[in-house]
């Protein structure tokens, strides 16, 4: 880059995404901390290892095909065909590490600097989708089976939905006016739907539901570690929000020049505005969840997370008070629905992932379609394809587009593929650990007690489990 302004723009953007990646690592630290706190003592280390090893597995597969899927599939199947994306192919020179930008490719000077950091930002989203599922299925799924779901969701289904609905050229954006700035549906609803699909087949932990269907409480082995984990996720979420923006972009569609931050659809927003909305939606979620859960720490913290997730689809444009209201409503909605589904359908979700991410994300996606009705969703890639268009011909954000979009995220790309894979694995007895291992504990024969200097106090649920251990079936 021979001009200083160009260099400042590109190298600032490179550094910006690099920092978001570092911040987003905290999300994964938080998920590990949170999940191990929820797990019982006899399963703690297996839970940590399960959540840790998804990192390399999703990383290598996202390198192989995830990044390419994001660019190649955005017009498939409704707005054209595959798009050529040589810079995202794993054997391409621009996926090859240090590159000065010289060569035949006209985009090389920019992509040489940005490909790796863009890739890593999306990769961290991939880890998040897989990690959301990890908590829901803990304490009975086979680790190897979980790894398959992690690769399926982390490196394929979520990035396919991002290609369709989280990309200015994606067909869901261009046709339907789908809008989901900070990924209520694109990351969270799909992960929640995926978790639900697995849970339906996997079944509850032994003893979770009594003979009359009553819901039994399985205490976390370390409640305060759970809250620290959620605090870390809140912190990492800042990096997630920043990574969903383009920090400097010329948004003037006429001959003029006007630089601004944009959302992922290259439509204007400001870091200042989303800072208001992030904190207000967190606050709305915390306050609502505190009330509906009667001050339960686990659900209050989870409600804060759900508040952000619920408002995320529209937090690029909401007023902070709207973000507060949507966050609060989403958290209350998720809490109530979680209780209903648990009692009615006997779904055992130890961390409330389906509720916080799935229901909260679905709710937030639908609500954004109503509140932001009429705004431009993106600049058109071809004229006249949008179902609803603004006066200037841009696809328009609308309720129908976001309702259908939420269904695609949660059910079509979330629930169905994971339900199908779970059925196949169950068919071959590869989904769940043997009953003896589940009752004795995953760590018992493999890692030993993680707290060798602290005596174990038997809980009411331990006694219930021992009763199950006497059953011979």
């Amino acid at each position: 880059m021979s001009s200083l302004p160009d260099a400042l723009n590109v190298i600032f953007t490179e550094a910006y995404y690099w920092i978001t990646v570092v911040m987003m690592f905290l999300i994964h630290v938080g998920f590990c901390t949170y999940e191990v706190g929820v797990a019982r003592r006899k399963n703690a280390m297996t839970v940590v290892m399960k959540n840790t090893m998804l990192i390399p597995l999703v990383t290598v597969t996202f390198f192989f095909f995830g990044w390419w899927v994001y660019f190649a599939f955005s017009n498939v199947p409704f707005n054209g065909g595959f798009i050529d994306a040589p810079f995202a192919l794993p054997w391409g020179e621009l996926m090859g590490g240090p590159h000065m930008g010289g060569g035949a490719d006209a985009n090389a000077p920019i992509w040489a600097r940005l490909n790796g950091v863009f890739w890593a930002a999306f990769l961290l989203f991939s880890w998040t989708t897989a990690s959301i599922i990890s908590g829901a299925v803990m304490e009975r799924i086979r680790t190897g089976a979980f790894f398959m779901f992690a690769v399926l969701v982390g490196s394929f289904t979520w990035i396919l939905d991002a290609s369709w609905g989280w990309n200015p050229a994606g067909w869901m954006v261009q046709l339907m006016g789908y809008h989901d700035a900070y990924a209520s549906g694109v990351v969270h609803a799909i992960a929640g739907g995926s978790a639900l699909g697995i849970l339906l087949v996997l079944g509850p932990r032994i003893g979770k539901f009594g003979p009359k269907g009553e819901v039994r409480t399985i205490l976390p082995h370390n409640p305060w570690l759970v809250t620290i984990g959620l605090f870390l996720i809140f912190t990492g979420f800042w990096g997630f929000y920043a990574a969903c923006n383009i920090p400097i972009f010329d948004i003037d569609s006429t001959d003029g020049v006007f630089y601004s931050a944009t959302n992922i659809y290259l439509m204007p927003t400001t870091l200042s505005g989303i800072t208001f909305n992030f904190i207000l939606s967190l606050s709305g979620g915390l306050m609502a969840a505190y009330i509906v859960s009667k001050g339960d720490p686990f659900w209050t913290y989870s409600g804060g997370l759900c508040g952000i997730i619920s408002a995320s689809a529209g937090n690029d444009l909401y007023h902070p008070v709207i973000a507060f209201g949507v966050g609060g409503a989403g958290a209350a909605f998720a809490y109530v629905l979680h209780g209903f589904v648990e009692r009615r359908f006997k779904i055992d979700d130890p961390v409330g992932a389906v509720a916080v991410h799935g229901y909260g994300g679905f709710f937030g996606t639908v609500v954004a379609g109503f509140i932001l009705w009429g705004y431009p969703a993106a600049n058109p890639t071809s004229e006249g394809v949008a179902w609803f268009a603004t006066a200037e011909g841009q696809p328009m954000i609308n309720p129908l587009g976001n309702i259908i979009g939420a269904i695609i995220m949660f059910w079509v790309l979330g629930f169905i593929p994971c339900y199908a894979l779970a059925r196949v694995l169950k068919r071959f007895n590869m989904l769940r650990v043997p009953r003896e291992v589940e009752l004795a504990g995953f760590d018992t024969a493999k890692y030993g007690d993680p707290y060798p200097y602290f005596p174990h106090v038997e809980t009411e649920f331990d006694q219930i489990e021992r009763e199950h251990a006497k059953d011979k079936h």
Partner: protein, 82 residues
């Protein structure tokens, strides 16, 4: 030829940066590097799943033999169950 491609950077000067493209060793044989790591990933997944299956089977048999109720009572001495 392959070995020399992988082991050489192909660069001996940074004096004219506008002409420099990729700087990593292995330019032109990226496909081979990708195949190697792809096979490694697939092999890891298969190995992990098989070895975990054997280990779970062994553990389940062990717990049945020792007596599950005894194992669960022995909570404070779980390391003795290894």
């Amino acid at each position: 030829m392959l070995i020399s491609s992988v082991l050489s950077t192909g660069l001996s000067s940074f004096s004219n940066p506008t002409t420099i493209g990729p700087m990593y060793p292995g330019v032109g044989v990226e496909w081979l590097l990708v195949i190697i790591i792809f096979v490694a990933w697939l092999g890891w997944q298969i190995y992990q799943f098989r070895s975990e299956g054997k280990e779970l089977k062994r553990q389940a048999e062990h717990f049945r033999k020792v007596g599950l109720d005894k194992v669960m009572k022995a909570d404070i001495h779980r390391d003795t169950m290894q």
